[in-house]
Symmetry: C2
Subunit: 196 residues, 2 copies
Amino acid sequence: MSKELRLHFAKHVELTEQEFAFCQSFFQTKRVRKHTLLLQEGEVCKYFLFVASGCLRAYAMDRKGEEHIVHFAFESWWITDDSSFWTGAPAIYFIEALEDSELLMIDAPGMETLLQKCPKLERHFRILLTNHAIALDRRIAASLSLSAEENYLQLLKVYPQLAQRVSLKHISSYLGITPESLSRIRKRLAKRPQKS
Amino acid sequence: MSKELRLHFAKHVELTEQEFAFCQSFFQTKRVRKHTLLLQEGEVCKYFLFVASGCLRAYAMDRKGEEHIVHFAFESWWITDDSSFWTGAPAIYFIEALEDSELLMIDAPGMETLLQKCPKLERHFRILLTNHAIALDRRIAASLSLSAEENYLQLLKVYPQLAQRVSLKHISSYLGITPESLSRIRKRLAKRPQKS
DNA sequence: CGCGGGTTTGATGATGCTCAAGCCCGGTGG
DNA sequence: CCACCGGGCTTGAGCATCATCAAACCCGCG
């Protein structure tokens, strides 16, 4: 299960076997079944999670009790409630497994130590966060300038796996529209000339 | 003008006078007047900009020629087109000064060298990017769950300076609504019992 | 079978958009 | 000093998109 983590780190830094073994020692592994709640709003988020396999979602709940998905996390992505994890503040998101998943977990003191002892990873995470920021900017730009339908198509272009793996309800929540609207959008697209 | 940069770095790392002097040597200074375009879509974004004073905006232009503001940058914030700056791809945003501004500029090779020679800054930027990601997540969650009016109020709560310094047109563009709508929102708010 | 979650469909309505006109105010030139 | 212009903001009327509410449908599972 840590093979995925090894490959993941290798994207931006080179680690020797020993170095990686050292890093790995900071993580616990966990297998969870679909629907497992890993974090609740209001708790302190103890772990930074690496998804070795499976799929999670982070969502916020508004005053009316509606859920709004802020992130999905598939294989070899990280997920956490950043503000809670890094500062110890109460979490503002829920995190839930959407499929049976294998996770690697590191807590905040572990993360601090890891980064201190293995400063190469500072670089790794800086690059990761930069890419993350690029993706978030694109999502924001898309939501500002596109219609619901265009937004959906753009999402599918970036994450083609999504339509297969995630329910209509969750995709609509991520897009900020109702399930009914997304259903109608799909219907329209289905009966329209489409490429590929 | 580099005093602001010094204070900024001091938020997350400690640098000696020499270290800072070294860092500083990587930056050029630039004063620009309101309305100056610092980056155009399609160009390669050569610089990572630190705003010592003043205010800039980054915006995307859609097919219809409408502008959508992705970020504002006030004093001691950074701004760039990340995907272009880090990878050399064509920029997808425009960057423009909204006020006369003082900028510190570093190019990509400079940035790489700086981070290599002064690894403490990896940490600084990682923390900065984490905070940035937190802010972006909140903006996304807000746009998913709030009405235009609630969104505007939330924005004012986070950046009270905004209403004074930035035109209605630009704020509405950031919120993803038309100037007309924001004008009506303000009218409604003005004639309603308000706190403070 | 029949239950139940997720999805689809339909009818109606609200929020925010479009287009067009008018207003306010600061700047310029006569 | 005033008349005029122009940009930014406001206001109004009609419209599009998407939300809401309610019902029906589909299909896997007990």
